[in-house]
């Protein structure tokens, strides 16, 4: 198909190559240098999508990232992407795109044809309809309709096949935007020794200068860009990043950039990321981010064929495309005259230039040129409505003061309601804005210490002043020393002030005057919201959805808040702006995790004995970042069956479990005992060398923080163990106390969790196994319960030094053996070999958990859940009366000592039932809902030793309820089980086994 609207000459496109592409199933052609939008316009495609709420026909409105209408579904399959702006999508050979928000087809859409959506969705519809309590019924009624009608394209249904990369960078100067001001800034600062990064959204830097017929230093716009880029590229201190959008500005001058590495290629090469997320720390930032043109709200201003005047100019000059054949220009400022001149030069008939200003105010250079060219200027006039169905065919124009309307035929309307500096990033960087009455726009109030806006972003809309401003911003980064080049020179244009015109009254009652094309917000919606009291701009935004689409209201927000100001008789300054938030333009979600997905989301910690466990066929479980053996299934066993066998064997014979993940902290110094006294509830100054003690730590508020065993290795040398989950937290806690609170204590601490590997050997035959490999006497007399000693373990690799502890988590006779991590496997295999004759089996975390539940030992994170006190866990008597400790001053507050505190109990399931997981405990099943909750199950298991389902639970006044029969219910699992309450310890409450 021919490109009927492509001009035969001009533009920054490569006519020597043709690129085939497809839109809504139709084949078209374009050229390198095109965007999808320019190529569609070249082929005469004006109607490209339907609007979000009302499904009205829409065309291409802008030429850059501010585009509200031309959002398409790009590509197919796993790489399909919704809401892609046709105006920034580089054309490539084989590109496939489809329109959105239409069913069954773009030309005939059921939602639009029925007019249903217009009646259904007035301003605030969601709020009014879905506010509780009416919400549930209303939602049921409307959900299907809304879900079918709403939505912006479709997410891919397959995993993302692409890779994304993260890149960190530092620079002295980051220039955001490579238009006239940005290039001038970078050029001025280059050669000063500063490291500079310049990023630009476009494939080609230069912004609106590309293809523009302006003269800078005697060069055409494109020539000057090329010359400047050559200078910058040759400089080793300058990094140029085209196709890169700065989308977020954060504290400490950190900016997030997204570089589109392969999006413009038909076939992405392997081993290249699709996109690269840059995190740049910049000493200084120049935001040369340009400005966005805005529209004017008149009736039916959304018809395809209506576009921003600056966009029309870009299509003509950069892409050599005529966006129509007969144009009407509607403006309140000078800039649209440049578009009119460009259209005229391109052979587009100018039916009228409708200027809201009076003849005497239209005095700028560009307007004079238009007048000299004989273009028909209609002063003091406005467009009051558009005509046409799927594209504009005419407009009515009328005097601004009111009066006779006149119809003018046209197929293109170019609108300019003024320009808004693109201050999104400047504002995110906490730059303050002020409203400039002359420019009718918000501009930076003042530069920040390390952040400035330059060029159009700084309200310098003319080329000459933008170049000068950019140059000055660049020099501002270098300091005063430089023999810098002269600022780039362009001819100064005389400008005339714009008129603040935001809307034109609708001739027809109910006529729609669009403010936000992307969210279908009209001037009427804003007036309605104001009448209903939504007079704060933040409320207006949320109530009407103004500016809440993917474009974040780049072409609409200013218009919306100006109309709100009018409706509420306030000034624009009083109304203010909404907060600018990242991202400036939508960013593919895949870019945020980058390579950190799947198994790379977080590190995996492997035990020193991991390979041994794997060789034995262990099934593994994630414990924090650790991979721990869950159990060691034998042939024909499930992991659960294996765990039951292992748990039984510990009580009958002997088992061994890898406990290397326990946090281990070495403490040395004169004052360790004093520190322990202060952080644990129990007493430590009485602990002799060669002994261990169990301890509980509280938070400052009296709630349990952690528990573990600490051993006195030598006079001033201790080893603390923490729970696996709290190893880092406890270390941090101690560091803070020692560095901040009690620097006078002489205590040195070091985390040695990964330096030592540890095995727990438990069961009635543990001593026999251990004695076979160690060189010290481990009899009950020489090595009693809670003894510590150093020894040698005889292994196949020779004797290795070990730390030996007699402590028990299972309730059986048990030892912990710690050896240097890389000797762990030798120690482990020596014990396994020695245990062969005694029925030794390795056991995993599941059997370990079963054993500790049977014994009634608590776990921090299950029983101690951040709300439990030591007394709740039955450990109130551990609190030493002889000393102070952290948490003690607040642990006796009334709420923490009430009689109905949830206290630790044991539960036994009756009637042969299975204990439901995470069940709540109630007294009576037949109570009206909500049935009062007496407590909940914290840990539960099948006990192979008791042959019953048992649980630990926190129960209101639990210690006084032993013997009661209650119900453990789980509505989620539809389970109701009778349980008998008892003490938490099910096995050997006297502790004879572990002392034996």
């Amino acid at each position: 198909m021919t490109q009927r609207f492509r001009m035969s000459a001009g533009g920054a496109i490569d006519r020597s190559r043709r690129l085939a592409f497809e839109f809504d199933g139709m084949p078209y052609q374009g050229h390198p240098g095109d965007t999808l939008a320019s190529a569609l316009l070249a082929n005469g495609v004006r109607f490209v999508g339907r609007s979000f709420k009302y499904h009205r026909p829409r065309g291409i409105f802008a030429a850059g990232s501010e585009e509200p209408n031309a959002l398409v579904q790009l590509a197919r399959g796993a790489r399909t992407e919704p809401n892609v702006r046709a105006t920034t999508t580089e054309l490539y050979d084989g590109l496939i795109a489809a329109s959105q928000n239409r069913w069954p087809s773009l030309a005939f859409d059921v939602g639009a044809a029925s007019g249903m959506l217009s009646r259904l969705l007035p301003a605030g519809f969601y709020y009014k309809t879905f506010m509780w309590p009416a919400m549930s019924t209303a939602w049921l009624k409307y959900e299907r309709v809304i879900r079918a009608a709403a939505g912006m394209g479709r997410a891919p249904g397959e995993p993302d096949p692409d890779r994304y990369e993260h890149q960190y960078a530092h620079c002295d100067l980051l220039v955001v935007g490579g238009g006239a001001a940005g290039l001038a800034a970078a050029r001025a600062a280059a050669d000063s020794g500063l490291r500079i990064i310049l990023c630009d959204e476009g494939a080609r830097v230069g912004g609106t200068l590309v293809g523009d017929d302006v003269s800078i230093d005697g060069l055409l716009g494109s020539e000057w860009i090329d010359a400047t880029v050559r200078i910058l590229s040759a400089n080793p201190d300058v990094v140029l990043l085209p196709r890169t959008t700065a989308f977020g500005s954060y504290d400490g001058n950190m900016l997030a950039l997204i570089e589109r590495v392969t999006d413009h290629l038909a076939a992405p090469p392997p081993y290249v990321p699709r996109q690269r997320l840059w995190k740049v720390r910049a000493r200084r930032v120049v935001f040369a981010t340009g400005a966005h043109e805005r529209g004017i709200a008149y009736q039916d201003n959304d018809l395809p064929g209506t576009m921003l005047a600056g966009a029309a100019r870009t299509y003509v000059q950069r892409y050599a495309v005529r966006p129509g054949s007969r144009a009407v220009v509607f403006t309140n400022n000078d800039s649209a005259y440049a578009a009119a001149l460009a259209l005229n030069a391109a052979g587009v008939a100018l039916a009228a230039i409708v200027d809201a200003r009076g003849q005497g105010e239209i005095t700028g250079t560009l307007a004079r040129r238009a007048r000299d060219a004989g273009l028909p200027i209609v002063a003091h006039a406005v467009i009051c409505c558009g005509h046409g169905r799927k594209r504009v065919s005419a407009v009515d124009i009328a005097p601004i003061a009111g009066g006779g309307r006149r119809r003018v035929d046209c197929d293109l309307v170019c609108v300019s309601g003024g320009w808004n500096p693109a201050l999104h990033l400047f504002s995110q960087a906490r730059g303050a804005l002020r409203y400039d009455d002359t420019l009718t726009a918000f501009v930076p109030r003042s530069p920040l210490s390390h952040v400035v806006a330059a060029g159009a972003a700084n309200g310098r809309f003319g080329l000459a002043e933008a170049l000068a401003d950019g140059h000055a911003a660049g020099l501002g980064a270098t300091g005063p020393n430089l023999s810098a080049a002269a600022p780039p020179h362009a001819e100064m244009e005389v400008g005339a002030a714009p008129l603040a015109l935001w809307s034109v009254p609708a001739p027809r009652r109910g006529g729609k005057r669009f403010v936000d094309l992307q969210d279908d917000v009209t001037a009427e919606d804003i007036a309605l919201a104001a009448r209903e009291g939504y007079t704060s701009v933040e409320h207006l935004k949320r109530y009407t959805t103004l500016g809440m689409g993917p474009d974040q209201g780049k072409t609409s927000n200013m218009l919306g808040l100006a109309l709100l100001a009018q409706a509420t008789d306030r000034s624009i300054v009083q109304v203010g702006t909404t907060t600018f938030r990242p991202p400036y333009t939508p960013v593919t979600l895949g870019a945020f995790p980058g390579d950190e997905r799947g198994a790379h989301v977080e590190p995996t910690r492997y035990l020193a004995m991991h390979d041994w466990h794997a060789e034995q066929g262990a099934s593994f479980v994630n414990a924090g970042l650790w991979k721990r053996p869950y159990s060691y299934p034998r042939v024909g066993e499930t992991p659960e069956q294996a765990a039951n066998r292992e748990a039984k064997n510990v009580r009958a014979n002997v088992g061994m479990v890898d406990v290397s993940t326990l946090g281990k902290i070495e403490l040395q110094g004169r004052d360790v005992a004093e520190l322990l006294n202060r952080v644990y509830i129990n007493r430590w100054d009485t602990l002799p060398v060669g002994r261990c003690r169990y301890g509980v730590m509280l938070r400052e508020d009296g709630i349990v923080l952690d528990d573990g065993t600490t051993s006195r290795l030598d006079a001033n040398h201790y080893l603390m163990t923490t729970t696996t989950v709290n190893a880092v937290k406890v270390m941090q806690h101690l560091e803070r106390l020692l560095q901040v609170d009690w620097p006078e204590l002489e205590v040195y601490i070091a985390s040695v969790t990964e330096q030592w590997t540890a095995a727990a050997l438990a069961g009635p035959r543990a001593r026999q196994v251990l004695q076979a490999v160690v060189d010290i006497d481990v009899s009950n007399e020489d090595f009693p319960f809670l003894a510590f000693g150093e020894c040698q373990v005889r292994t196949a690799q020779g004797a290795i030094p070990a730390r030996l502890f007699r402590m028990s988590y299972s309730g059986e006779l048990a030892y912990e053996i710690h050896v240097p991590a890389d000797l762990g496997r030798a120690m482990w295999e020596a014990l396994i070999a020695a245990g062969e004759d005694f029925g030794l089996m390795p056991y995993g975390t599941e059997a370990m958990s079963t054993l500790r539940i049977e014994k009634g030992h608590v776990v921090v994170g299950a029983e101690a859940d951040g709300r439990t006190t030591a007394d709740d866990l039955g450990m109130g008597k551990l609190v030493s009366a002889a000393k102070w400790c952290i948490g003690k001053p607040l642990m006796n507050r009334p709420a923490l000592t009430a009689v109905d505190r949830w206290q630790l109990v044991g539960l036994t399931a009756l009637d042969g039932a299975v204990m439901p997981r995470a069940a709540k405990i109630v007294a009576d099943l037949d109570r009206a809902l909500p049935n009062p909750m007496l407590g909940h199950v914290t840990s539960w298991c099948w006990s192979p030793n008791l042959e019953s389902w048992i649980a630990l639970a926190l129960l209101a006044g639990g210690r006084t309820r032993h013997g009661e029969i209650l119900w453990a219910v789980s509505p989620l699992a539809d389970a109701k089980v009778r349980v008998r309450v008892g003490p938490p310890c099910f096995i050997d409450p006297e502790g004879e086994r572990l002392r034996g």
């Binding site: 400490g252 803070r736 601490i749």
Partner: protein, 91 residues
């Protein structure tokens, strides 16, 4: 993201640090009243402006720092060791 100057490591990104709250709190005496302890543990000022706070360079030198941050702008005004000690005297 904040850039926090560590007296030992230089300016480092916020992700390397752990926040530790108000640095001006004085731990009450062990025999202080419950009211004093409630004040110390739970009650905080929320100043608009300079805020003295503790940060630990947890993914770095592990030292606790006393940092002054403007809560309105997030500007770091000052950073120093948590207690008067010279660099190198780290525990």
């Amino acid at each position: 993201m904040l850039l926090i100057p560590c007296p030992w490591c230089g300016a480092r990104a916020q992700i390397e640090f752990t926040y530790g709250g108000d640095a001006t709190l004085q731990r009450p005496a062990v025999d202080a009243t419950e009211t004093d302890w409630v004040q110390y543990v739970f009650l905080r000022d929320n100043p608009a402006g300079a805020h003295q706070e503790l940060w630990q360079h947890s993914a770095g030198c592990r030292q606790w720092l006393r940092v002054s941050r403007d809560t309105r702008t997030h500007e770091i005004l000052e950073s120093a060791p948590a207690v008067e000690a010279s660099p190198g005297d780290a525990r």
